[in-house]
Amino acid sequence: MALASVLQSESVDFSNYGRQRRGFASGLTETELGLESVGGDSLSFALRTSCSNGDGPDRKIEFLHGTTTLAFKFQHGVIVAVDSRATAGSYIASQTVKKVIEINPYLLGTMAGGAADCSFWERLLARQCRVYELRNKERISVAAASKLLANMVYQYKGMGLSMGTMVCGWDKTGPGLYYVDSEGNRVCGDLFAVGSGSMYAYGIVDSGLKQKDLTVEEACDLGRRAIYQATYRDAYSGGQVNLYHVHSEGWTRVSQSDVLMLHQQYQAEKA
């Protein structure tokens, strides 16, 4: 399996795990692993990540469940906007998380779900993209990169990975935007918003994209506003709005704005 091959020395061979699990009914939810009978495997502990242990840990794995990330295509490329809050239950673990992962100078990935899952697999994707470049002497397309990621995580389907990411870039067919998640979905589209605040973000972006041609400035403002509104209404999103623009030369980090500052700015504009 991909994980075992990267981490040569220490990890257990999970290939038996995968084969056994295919036969089970897929009635397992995301957070529950529930590996009851794993036969002669040395790892025979039933691991329950749901917090049912008596004196055990409350929440071992910090999942970035609360988040708002969005990306949309427009005339001049792709705008990617994200918040920066990470929560562990109701505790805000961090307000300064980098939810946009720079895969390479012309590909970006966003992070929603498990922070470690997203950053690990996207870092692995960066390595695969580089290998592709070396082998084929040309840049990898967004479709191919997103397919590599989707196939990597599909092998772990049902094992509890939590990852909802958007792969954004510019290749020879123009701007590219794909949504990939740990369930095995891979969808091409013009607009995606992922996370607990996604509904609020969709509202803003859908109404803003009604006018056909946006300038870069207008598109950035739209992305920023959408994330701001989502942080306003969603308790699990907040911190700062990080904005990136992907164009033919690659990606540019446009801005990082604190949500409190944006709030004051928009209030002043209203007056």
Binding site: L3, V6, L7, E10, S11, F14, Y17, L33, L43, F45, A46, L47, N53, G54, D55, G56, P57, K60, I61, E62, L64, A88, Y91, A93, S94, T96, V97, K98, G114, A115, A116, D117, S119, F120, M159, G160, L161
Partner: protein, 238 residues
């Protein structure tokens, strides 16, 4: 395993403190040993501090079990959570540091150790190390660096971070005193070493007041380009 729940008696008042019905027992490979860790990065120094209490359930196993481990001359790691995994993890990190030194003829930098730890932790994604790690040290430019992790390897560089059982109590205080959050019209003074050490001591004294798993003593490791200095300060023993 004592499962404590409220039980209501016939007269409506709360009854006994212990649940006495049937309980399913199963072996858990984890246990929670408590402890709090804190790291602060300054302009040319880094501080990693931890309490020294090792507990389990209602008992204290040891009053002298610090949670800071020296990795290199410029890096210290603080590990809290399940003590068994803390020990194994630090052994693995030490081994990997040695391997790197032998292959590359130089010590690992703080940033490199952080990246390596992330992959070590993710390697056990499906049976995690139950450890909350915080690395404190100097980066290649000599500036203070703090890296905080979650149990499965997600990490980021911070200026300050608290981890472990009293983290939710310490982090807001640090946000205010070091990050100047939620303060208007206050001058943002850069943090100097003496102020930082005093702040760390005060913050742990507060944590020991309100968190049962934190107390006994405080071990502070100060990392500067001169090396690593250790200081021990007593805390509440109750």
């Amino acid at each position: 395993i004592m499962f404590t729940t409220q039980v209501y008696g016939d007269n409506g008042k709360m009854k006994e403190y212990h649940y006495t019905g049937p309980v399913e027992h199963r072996f858990s490979p984890y246990s929670f040993n408590g402890g709090t860790v804190l790291a602060v990065a300054g302009e040319d120094f880094a501080i990693v501090a931890s309490d020294t209490r090792l507990s389990e359930g209602y008992s204290i196993h040891s009053r002298d079990s610090p949670k800071c481990y020296k990795l290199t001359n410029t890096t210290v790691i603080g590990c809290s959570g399940f003590h068994g995994d803390c020990l194994t993890l630090t052994k693995i990190i030490d081994a990997r540091l040695k391997m790197y030194k032998h292959s590359n003829n130089k010590s690992m930098t703080s940033g490199a150790i952080a990246a390596m730890l992330s992959t070590i932790l993710y390697g056990r994604r499906f049976f995690p190390y139950y450890v909350y790690n915080i690395i404190g040290g100097l980066d290649e430019e000599g500036k203070g660096a703090v890296y905080s992790f979650d149990p499965v390897g997600s990490y980021q560089r911070d200026t300050y971070k608290a981890g472990g059982s009293a983290s939710a109590m310490l982090q807001p205080l640090l946000d205010n005193q070091i990050g100047y959050k939620n303060m208007e019209g206050v001058q943002h003074l850069p943090l100097n070493q003496e102020k930082a050490v005093q702040l760390v001591k005060d913050v742990f004294i507060s944590a020991a007041e309100r968190d049962v798993y934190t107390g006994d003593a405080l071990r502070i490791c100060i990392v500067t380009k001169e090396g690593i200095k250790e200081e021990t300060v007593p805390l509440r023993k109750d």
